[in-house]
């Protein structure tokens, strides 16, 4: 199959691309529907899913209900939890609970962005690499191999240290750039296997036909795998950005859970008995979210690899 496209091909493929965009959307909707069905089958997965949804609702809608407490009350520093303030007060006498409610927005948005970018890059490059083959494929695969062998977090630390991270978008880009190889490999393998099979027909098919096959057949079938990969991307992004915040690398644009932990560390809240709520609240919040994501995805994995299941 030739690796180059003439300008006519490009024009034609754009038209097909527009038509297949609708197909992609339909495919995604179908994938989401299947996702819900799968979730209902597995108990821990379902619980995880509910928790994740709750997190999103609270983090994005909660701030309108419970605005963050900005009032410094010197007399109530590190106050213990009470009915009015379920998580006590922080180092400036501000209500911890409101901070927790408000603290998720940045983190979840960045996580979503990172996962989106990373998934988009991985899927596109993977399909491209498999369809075009040849030098591009070798080059991209080599890149992916190299990126996968570089220790991720130190690189993210160094990058964040060298680059001024001024916005969530830049942070998401940094995180995404290092996490695409996984999905790239999987998509590439799938598309390649199809290409091998239809090799003879591919020679007869137009280049358009192959793109068509990729978007109509392969990707919708991989939707669940892509969904799992998306979820892992999110957990990875949260791990990374929290870590970066804790190192003081990402500017404190507003309150978020990572910032709370960072402040607790610098203000020594970790070592005081009374400030336990303040340090534990964000830690548990992040930990619970990661757990819920893992439950959700592990159960998805089990559904696709029946051998891991016990006897019914």
């Amino acid at each position: 199959m030739s690796g180059t496209m003439s300008s006519n091909d490009v024009i034609r493929s754009t038209a097909i691309y527009q038509r297949t965009t609708k197909d992609i959307l339909l495919g995604i909707l179908k994938g989401i529907g299947e996702f819900f069905r799968l979730m209902a089958r597995n108990r821990t997965g379902f619980i995880g899913f509910i928790i994740v949804v709750l997190y999103f609702v609270v983090s994005f809608l909660g701030p309108y209900v419970i605005p963050v407490d900005k009032e410094t009350k010197v007399t109530r520093i590190f106050e213990k939890p009470s009915w009015q303030h379920p998580l006590g007060m922080d180092h400036e006498g501000r209500d911890t609970f409101s901070q927790v409610v408000n603290g998720g927005r940045d983190i979840l948005t960045t996580a979503l962005l990172t996962a989106l970018i990373s998934t988009a890059i991985g899927v596109t490059l993977g399909a491209l690499s498999a369809v075009l083959g040849g030098g591009i494929d070798t080059l991209l695969s080599a890149f992916a191999d190299i990126f996968m062998s570089i220790p991720q977090f130190p690189l993210q630390v160094v990058l964040a240290g060298f680059i001024q991270v001024k916005s969530m978008l830049i942070l998401s880009l940094i995180l995404a750039i290092l996490s695409w190889p996984g999905l790239y490999r999987a998509v590439r393998a799938q598309v390649l296997s199809l290409r091998e099979r239809d090799y003879v027909e591919a020679a007869i098919l137009l280049d358009l036909g192959t793109w068509h096959i990729v978007f109509k057949e392969i990707l919708p079938n991989m939707m669940s795998y892509i969904a799992i990969s998306f979820a892992f991307s999110m957990t990875g992004a949260i791990y990374a950005q929290t870590g970066l915040v804790l190192l003081g690398l990402v500017p404190f644009s507003s309150h978020n859970w990572g910032v709370m932990i960072s402040i607790a560390w610098t203000r020594g809240a970790i070592f005081y008995r009374d400030s336990a709520a303040y340090i534990l609240a964000p830690v548990f919040t992040i930990a619970l979210f990661q757990l819920a994501m893992v439950w959700m995805t592990r159960s998805l994995e089990e559904v696709f690899n029946p051998r891991l299941r016990g006897r019914a």
């Binding site: 190299i146 130190p154 630390v157 060298f162 932990i261 970790i270 070592f271 930990a287 893992v294």
Partner: protein
Amino acid sequence: MSAIAERDKQLSSSGLDIPRMLRLIWSSYYVRQAAKALFTIFFVTTLIFFLVRLMPSNPVERFVVDLMYSQGLSRQDALDQARAIFAIDLDAPMYVQYIDYLGNLFKGDLGVSLLSRGTPVVEIIKAVLPWTIFSVGTGLMISFTLGILIGTIIAYRRESLIDPVVTGISSFLSAIPGYLQAILIIVFLGVQIKINGKPLVPIHQMRGAYSPGVQPGFTWVFIKDVFFHAALPIATYILTTVGGWTLAMKSSTINTLGEDYVTVARARGLSDGRITTAYVGRNALLPLASQLAINIGFAIGGSTLIETYFVYPGIGSRLGAAVGGRDYPVMQGIFLMITFVVISANLLADLLYSVLDPRIRIGGGAR
């Protein structure tokens, strides 16, 4: 002469057949992997070099400008100082800088620290790297051993109660980020839970690599002390990675148990012990060896924060400090070192894998 006969003659002629020699060398799996590793290291060093120089907010440039303003130096003087610290000549064209940079790397010169003026980065690394390798290495070894033992056991006992419990705990542990687990250990075991007024874990005494007053050396006292101080980081590494090993070994063992050769081994009347070790165990371990590489990179990455929280003087906490103080030469040097260590570890893991699995070893010409 026919083409075959001619080729025959070519091949059997004596003398240096360079292309053939090269092909032979390349066909060795070990050589290929080593070459890949070297190339990755080379790629990373180049990447860092250009990243630093070409960033819009070029830290090197910024440093020079800083010096000029804060100390009123001329650009030339500032450049001279910078050269001493960054070990490169900033005015020369980019490719000359690059060659200098590579040359310095070969000589083992990674520049001089900004924060601790005058201390070569290499010295800093030499002082801290061993502690990280020690703690991460010990942690991974224990975690690996525990993980494969437990994983094998629950793979054999799939209907029992232990399976969902262990699987659940493993999932749990591997989902929570390591640095958070470190904080939880400090908060619960070190601060909150008190027995007779003393905390369960004397975290303050466990700071540092060894207690003041203890002489380094191969004495039992020193070794005990070293382990005492490394206990918390090691425990955290174990907690974060043991879950992954357990689950991986469980699934790998389950897959292996379904293999034909296990059934045939039973038909041959081999003892259960033999089958579990040489047939199931060895084959189930193979996919895990490739996981080893990922785990090493992951653990060293996590060391950054974990060492900071436990105040353990390893390369991770040093990186954290360098980053906080914008000490670029140290940051760069440590990152290169970490990458080198991780990639070397990957290479070793790869070689280990090829020793364990004879199917990998034969490069181009099996039969």
